[in-house]
Point group: C2
DNA sequence: ATGAAAGCGCTAACAG
DNA sequence: CTGTTAGCGCTTTCAT
């Protein structure tokens, strides 16, 4: 019968009882407002409002009466009204390309840690890799008057037009991971070119001469940059590239199987594969092994993301690790310090976060000594 | 320079240009309201409002002028104001115990499909298995005046007090999967007792005599019910149960390792394990195999959830499958049809969705013929 | 220390 | 078909 509510940030754990009401078939019941409290206490609404916010203008005793009465009456602040009045929502919107990813979840955790501490709520939306949905999400967050936005772009997204409205209203936007290079955008990213380079170089060092690259749309920065690194490593080590070595598809299970079949049919057969997704790498490896390919000895593999599955599959998967939680925290911290006027995000451009190659069984060849 | 916006649901893809503004260091700029449009057109605000909503009361020509001017001026509806006025937000809140799970993501996808179609937005919050965060999330959704709630409970949640406020205001709540049995709650679930029974029975049929159960807190319905099914199967097949066979921990990687070590040290050694999480099963199996245990022949395994990893690990994992997307759709559909007054959720109690045992390598024993 | 009054942007009842 | 008016619940000058 009790419900704790934080109608005042700093008054914690005030609990009170609701008057019970019949709950079936009824219209939404009215709800207690500060006016109800004011009336009961013979005060003005403004006084109640101040009291609830612990304004120093209000006397201790009055304040106490207000808070107690609010409890007793089951008052609950109406954030909608407050947002409208204050012209800000204390909410930041987060648009991600998908939810079902370990990386994205780490980022979300990081964002949440920072925003919660700063007293902001977050509003999560996901585009499921669809541009149309991303645009819809952006509109919606805009209509809801979020104070700031953190976003990673869908696979299909090619421009930032749908974020322009935020800029026009001086609502700050910070991008992470999946970004578009634009002059005035702030982004938290990893060095994808370097990652692609390091992954490929590692395979080369393991003796691979013919390295396939399995990835998703090169329209998306992360993939084009990793591809660039891959090409750079090949070039520097005088290995030939041909278009046959590049397999582009979405990152679905089916795509992984298809890639495996393509690899099987290649002639000459490749001896290394760099995949920009651990999941795809895992499905691909599995299919190849079912066809008698030995990994890493016949074909070595490197994935991307350091998903937990890397340690679960056989052989364990070499991959690129990068810190989702840190990325989320950095993005959120920058956004909030801008909102609080402590710094100006428009002067920051890209923030690059560390990333590491993690070597596991899938790429370490027993034969082929250095 | 163009930004598509849907200030009217049915008028799609109106694009217009914003007047450019200096974006650095400025306060949030004012933003166009219907009054600005009204003034420019020498109309009343109400007329503009109606025009924007395609009200049949407004003349075609006027409507056109309104819409075009709105475009030109860069008008964007203020949902906060609309919500306040209409006393409803056209938003439904979703609280889940975690985001990083295939099951939860399927549910979210299902919810989204239905809500989007019905013109509702969703607001996603997650508790990270923490009761305190779940309470905070509930409060927040309440303060934001969501029209309805869909929730699965955290591992720590033992009561529904924090949802009582919704009931008091006749805001409908539908639970799924992780629920508490309460009189007036509506829930979409699977038959966890049956699942536990079927999983255990399968192991017994494969010749297992000493079956360990690895699970999480039995305070949570899903785990206590699966445990109940497990016990029932043992009892019906005259297999002895002892407390040593029950391993309770969180579903972390560490917990999985610990469980494996416990199993290794058991004497006599068990010959079957039923785990209520595919991930834990996978980590556990991996550890056991590293210690020379052969699966399924020495120890057979059954997991729970039918996560994609089931097919990626070796041996592939036998598990219980249940349809997340359907669960999400059913929950959302019930909620919305209640909101629209088409049905009354208070008369529905539990909706049980199908679930199936999927047999893979981890439990099928070559020897030990029937 | 408290109150009166205005207004955030929108919609809807009522009038014409 | 269009305008007037009021009010959703809250905060915030400006008085007192």
């Amino acid at each position: 019968m009790n419900y704790a509510i934080d109608f005042v940030n700093f008054l914690k754990n005030i609990s009170f009882s609701f008057t019970s009401q019949s709950a079936s078939g009824m219209k939404k019941s009215k709800g207690i407002t500060i006016y109800d409290i004011a009336k009961k206490l013979n005060l003005a609404a403004s006084t109640v409002s101040r009291g609830l916010q612990d304004s120093p203008e209000i006397g201790k005793k009055t304040k106490k009466r207000i808070v107690e009465t609010a409890e007793k009456m089951g008052y609950s602040a109406n954030l909608t009204a407050r947002s409208l009045r204050q012209q800000q929502s204390e909410t930041i919107g987060v648009i991600v390309h998908q939810l079902n990813s370990n990386f994205v979840n780490s980022v979300l955790a990081g964002i949440e840690r920072v925003t919660t501490e700063a007293g902001y709520d977050i509003l999560i939306a996901h585009s499921s890799e669809s541009y149309v949905k991303e645009v819809a999400n952006a509109k919606n967050l805009f209509h809801r008057r979020v104070d700031g936005v953190i976003s990673s772009l869908s696979l299909e997204t090619m421009d930032l037009e749908h974020f322009r409205a935020f800029a026009e209203r001086n609502v700050p936007v910070v991008y992470f991971d999946r970004v578009e290079q634009e002059e005035n955008s702030t982004a938290v990213v990893i060095d994808n070119v370097k990652c692609g380079y390091v992954a490929t170089q590692h395979l080369i060092q393991q003796g691979c001469k013919r390295i396939v690259h399995v990835t998703a749309s090169l329209n998306r920065n992360v993939y084009s940059q990793r591809y660039e690194g891959y090409r750079k490593a090949l070039a520097e080590h005088k290995l030939e590239f041909s278009d046959d070595l590049l397999i582009i598809d979405d990152h679905s299970e089916r795509a992984a199987m298809d890639a495996a079949m393509k690899i099987l049919q290649m002639n000459p057969r490749p001896d290394g594969v760099f995949v920009t997704s651990d999941f795809v790498a895992a499905f691909c490896m599995r299919t190849l092994r079912q066809h008698g390919i030995s990994i890493p000895d016949t074909i070595a593999f490197v994935g991307f993301n350091n998903d937990p599955i890397c340690k679960l599959i056989e052989p364990t998967l070499t991959t690129i690790d990068y810190p989702g939680k840190d990325i989320g925290e950095i993005a959120a911290r920058n956004l909030i310090s801008h909102l609080k006027g402590l710094s100006n995000i428009n002067r920051t451009n890209n923030i690059t976060v560390r990333s590491d190659l993690i070597v596991r069984e899938s790429s370490v060849r027993s034969r082929d000594p250095e």
